[in-house]
């Protein structure tokens, strides 16, 4: 059993998974092939995200479902492979923790272990990663919201699922707690490499754990790719924009100056000041961080513009692509690194500055409009 766990860790980092689900009411018609450790499932509330997960795990009657993870077929209802929920080999973390109120934290954590038949990760390790050591003998009723959700995560991991479905696991927590728990989730993902489908209606939360995002609307797939890639597709832009589009720039941590600003260096070599950095302590210099930025906070100018402005960050680059919808113009700018910078401008501005695909441009944004966080993916 130990060998199996080790070989699992020795495998290439990403799992391949394929799944499809069809349901008539509510409408669901999804067929996806993806690879990566975590697939982010994003969409407005009512887009069918939770229904999709429920269909995959077998909690919805009458759904046609197929799930394959790393070549192993877990469900194929058409071929008669339709095991009941408790034999599907999938784990699920719900928005409401669903801990058993009459069992201690320890007894909750171990509940799925018999079904795991020793294939799960060691109990003590999971408890340690999730920081639950001191809570083991408490009852769930005595735990805080964040602690309960951590127990729910641990309980799911310990049941050794072949595919872990997370249905808005942090939605019931406030923003501060969410930021606190995300790193735990990232360490679990890195420690056990369990393929996950992670549902959220907060793009920021998804971007902390994955780059691969499946965009769902009215039970159908709208797009699959990184947030920036999706945003540049006109059929996804409006939807993403309504849900609060953010994108991330991979950077390295430099230092914090006396005025409280945190300085990072982008992959393209630009020094960027950021007004807010998540986490109690600053990471060491050179640590990989993500810079979060909203396209509507980015201003475009002609290159070489040297007007005296209060803003700090100016990055020169080249416009790679422009996506237009009836209401919006989104500009994708190359700035040296692997990830583009996105700026939302008006059609009028585009014409006035004579910006087109291929032309050089300068992006300006305030330090206060950016937020940095330790890179966890």
């Amino acid at each position: 059993m130990v060998d199996e766990a080790q070989s699992r860790q020795g495998q290439p980092l990403s799992a391949r998974f394929r799944f499809s689900a069809e349901l008539s009411r509510p409408t669901l018609d999804v067929s996806v092939e993806a690879s990566g450790d975590v697939l982010g499932l994003f969409g407005r509330s009512g887009a069918g995200k939770s229904t999709l997960l429920a269909a995959l795990v077998g909690l919805v009657k009458g759904a046609r479902v197929e799930v394959e993870v790393d070549g192993e077929r877990l469900v194929d209802t058409d071929a008669g492979l339709a095991p009941p929920v408790h034999r599907r080999g999938m784990g699920m973390v719900f928005q409401d923790h669903r801990l058993f109120p009459h069992r201690s934290v320890r007894a909750n954590l171990t509940y799925g272990m018999p079904a795991a038949r020793g294939k799960g990760p060691p109990f003590e390790d999971v408890v340690q990663i999730l920081g639950l050591t001191d809570l083991l003998d408490s009852m769930p009723g005595a735990c805080s919201g964040g602690e309960r959700q951590r127990v729910a995560l641990g309980r799911a991991i310990l049941s050794a699922p072949k595919l872990l479905l997370l249905d808005e696991p942090l939605a019931s927590l406030d923003r501060g707690l969410r930021r606190e728990i995300l790193p735990y989730l990232a360490s679990l993902r890195d420690a056990y490499r369990i393929p996950m489908i992670y549902v959220s209606h907060e793009l920021e939360e998804l971007l902390a754990i994955t780059d691969e995002i499946l965009l769902l609307e009215e039970g159908r797939v709208r797009g699959l790719g990184s947030a920036a890639e999706l945003a540049m597709q006109d059929q996804c832009l409006e939807l993403l924009h309504d849900c609060g589009l953010v994108f991330t720039l991979p950077c390295e941590f430099s230092r914090r100056t006396a005025d409280g600003l945190v300085w990072v260096q982008s992959a393209g070599g630009h020094g960027i000041a950021c007004g807010d950095f998540e986490g109690a302590e600053d990471p060491p210099g050179g640590a990989a961080v993500d810079l979060l930025l909203r396209p509507e906070d980015v201003i475009l100018a002609r290159p070489g513009m040297d007007a005296e402005l209060s803003l700090t960050n100016r990055i020169e680059g080249r416009i790679r692509r422009i996506t237009k919808t009836a209401r919006r113009v989104l500009v994708e700018m190359e700035c040296g690194g692997p990830e583009p910078l996105l700026a939302e401008v008006t059609e009028r501005a585009l014409q006035r500055l004579d910006l087109r695909e291929g032309s050089p441009a300068m992006a300006l944004f305030k330090a206060q409009a950016t937020r940095g966080r330790l890179r966890t993916k």
Binding site: H86, M90, M92, H102, Y111, G141
Partner: protein, 227 residues
Amino acid sequence: MIAWVDVALGPAEWQALRVSMEVSVLATCLVALPGIGLGLLLGRCQFRGKLMLDALIHLPLVLTPVVVGLLLLMAFGREGLLGIDLAFTRGAAVLASAVIALPLVVRSVRTAAELVDDRLLEAAAVLGAGPLRRFWDVLLPLTRPGIAAGLTLGFARSLGEFGATITFAGNIAGETRTLPSAIYTASQTPGGDGAAMGLTLASVALSFFALLASEWWMRRSRAKGNP
């Protein structure tokens, strides 16, 4: 205190108290399994005829106990439909009490079972627990307060059972003369007022302690985290 009780309760009254306790304990044991089973069935399952079953179980709650006693006599009497003659025996007293107590147990268990959150059972299933484990580990423990309350209520109701018992089991001293029957007999006997009063006080005390015990049970299980 003891002396006063001794004055009020002669050997015959103590005997009635003992008979009552024995009958109620046995009736509660007899009703426990079917009561819990039917309560869980009605609380968790959908099936044809559920309404009919529900009404049938609850009939003794609204019928006058004398009718229940007569029906039992028709079923289990000397020339009864079932061919088993139980009438006017200790067994008849137990059965009468059990039938009267059944709806109380079922109601209490059913309500508790209905309140068990389906989402917890789903969570257990996703964690790999089959139907049997979900029943033992989740449904049953979460229904426990309702089971305890139901059995206590059933026990207390048995202690007070009169109509069905006196019709089906009679009023035989030392055999089927329970507290209520003894009170009735004493109150009909010239000079029996003292004994009737003593027995009445004993019944009040007994029922009171039964209810206290049930409340203590509920609080203890709530403190353990049960809803």
